[in-house]
Amino acid sequence: MDIFDGFSIALTIANLGYCAAGVFIGTLVGVLPGIGPVAAMSILFPVTLGIPPVSAVIMLSGIYYGAMYGGSTTSILVNIPGEASSVITCLDGHQMARKGRAGVALGISAIGSFIGGTLAIIGLQIAAPHLAKVALIFGFPEYFSLMCCGLVVLTFMAQGSMVRALMMALVGLFLGSIGMDLVMGTPRFTFGIVEFSDGVGLIPVIMGLFGISEVLLNIEQRISKDVFSGKISQIWPSRKDWAASAGPISRGGLIGFFFGLLPGAGPVAAGFVSYSVEKKISKHPEQFGLGAIEGVAGPEAANNAAIGGAFIPLLTLAIPSTPGMALLLGAFLSYGVNVGPLLITQHPDIFWGVVASMYIGNIMLIVLNLPFVGLWVKILKIPYHYLVPAILIFCVIGSYSLSNSMVDVIVMIVFGFIGYLFKKLKYEAAPLIMAMVLSPLMENNFRQSLLLSQGDFMIFFSRPLSAILMFVAVLLLILPNLSWVRNRRAKRLEASLE
């Protein structure tokens, strides 16, 4: 099977419909501040349980990369990021709008997103099958070390304290171990609740941590929207704009793709790195922050490319690098599809169908975001207090319909409150989610490795590949504690704040 077979799957009427629904919902949640793509994916996940896995993944991924497009519209027109990865677009995008160039800013952001996204899909299509072949040599110890390394990289990339991020990962590992023990069938930490014997549901936890908590925070802080009221004209960039944006878009695409591969880096970091690279190499860095088109084109290409890149570790190694990918991993497991090195050989329809649908989705998105930009501006004007009941009720229905049980709803509400407190206390939820989804796989590989080595922990350090991964993990744990690294980080932070 190859990409052409993928197109024959993605181009069926049903899959085109799911793809269109996904990218439309993605753009919608991207445009609306207060609900992100991960919350939207978790709300819609129950709806996908009755459809074929390939269609479900096409729709869920469409929401994820669609949100990257929509988020920039809000950043440019309102100066509030529609979702986290568009934060950096506010800086120059909104300044362009204030100077009467809102149309060009929206145009170049959609075109940059399209090119960045497409470059990453080409990368995914080429790299994933090769990486999957390499991953076939992985045994239990290598997998365990890879997951340890992934979690450490994720916490290393955390925006706040690395220790706190590691603590969140450990809480996630514990939450993931709730339920029936896989080897002996012993119920663990279920507190007598029958529904917990299959574990605490990942989707209600994600809905709580990313959906409910966001609503609570926005209500507390009151989102005030000052929507751009001028006329949006001349969306297509001029020749001069093209010349200024071509380099940033291609560099942004590459940066985004590589950042997508790293656990924890994802689209947010990719956008920031692309922005600083463009500012550093620009002949007129003083224009950045005042409406430089490069400051919109680069980061937008990067955040879209990061999504394509993030699919590689997910589909070939079962390692999610962002919370959205963790949700997709959970979704794959619910559909009974084992992701990892064997996915491309065992379920080629899913792999190639999803890759092909991403090409189609990107074309749909550019159509949705350029000619229909007026529609999104109208949606942006909906007051937030009308959205609150809708978001909360969708979350309740979504979590209830997972297993027709109020336990999932209560779990979602409790984690909504916990997520709200985490945000106030500067604890990140992403490591918790990723550790929670990896926990059963990690535990299984850990126990199998110890059985294999008859209790010798050195098995993780004596096999070359596993040793390299463990070495990287240990190095990353030590690095932030070295004083010269700490000083350099502090200086860099100071410079970025200036």
């Binding site: 450990l170 609570l216 507390e220 609150v388 319909s401």
Partner: protein, 176 residues
């Protein structure tokens, strides 16, 4: 001790207790042996590392606050007391907007009541009451907006999810 440091110490203490609780519960499940790990071993390791990291976090924050207080003491008139007063003043309270925090808390309580009432009152009635409460609480609306908004949106949600998407929703004692 500044308010912020006290808050951080309480937090670290909370995580240490969580870690210990996980360790004890895991130990009770049976740790097994290294060559045949039991169901408690993996969570036991997670709980132990959580305890250690909570202590590291406690140590890091205490040192960071001491350093900040020391540098303030050198720059602010009034020495250590002045620095303490300044650092306490500079700390942003956890819930700066009291009304907003109250609304957030009210929503959590309302969500819990909504979830518990849904199986008795049914989806339509409980959702109507919940939406009406939200429209009243978040940004006070006129009474007719609340009534019509709540009734129409709960009916619309029912039609979309129950009738069109055939999602399972609680029926309740009234049969809808």
């Amino acid at each position: 001790m500044s308010i912020a440091l006290r808050k951080e110490n309480w937090l670290s203490g909370f995580w240490i207790v969580c870690g210990l609780a996980i360790c004890i519960a895991s130990y009770r499940l049976s740790l097994g042996s290294l060559n045949d790990p039991g169901p408690g071993m993996f969570p036991f390791i997670a709980g132990s590392v959580l305890c250690v990291l909570s202590m590291v976090e406690w140590w890091n924050t205490t040192r960071a606050y001491q350093r900040a207080a020391h540098s303030l003491a050198q720059t602010v008139d009034g020495g250590a007391d002045g620095a303490r007063a300044v650092s306490a003043e500079a700390v942003e309270p956890l819930f700066a907007n009291r009304l907003g925090a109250f609304k957030a808390a009210a929503i959590i309580v309302a969500l819990l009541i909504y979830a518990l009432a849904m199986e008795h009152l049914g989806f339509i009635l409980s959702t109507t009451l919940f939406i009406a409460f939200l429209l009243w609480l978040v940004e006070r609306q006129r009474w007719y907006v609340i009534v019509f908004g709540a009734v129409l949106s709960s009916m619309a949600t029912y039609l979309v999810f129950k009738v069109w998407l055939e999602t399972a929703l609680p029926i309740g004692l009234l049969g809808f």
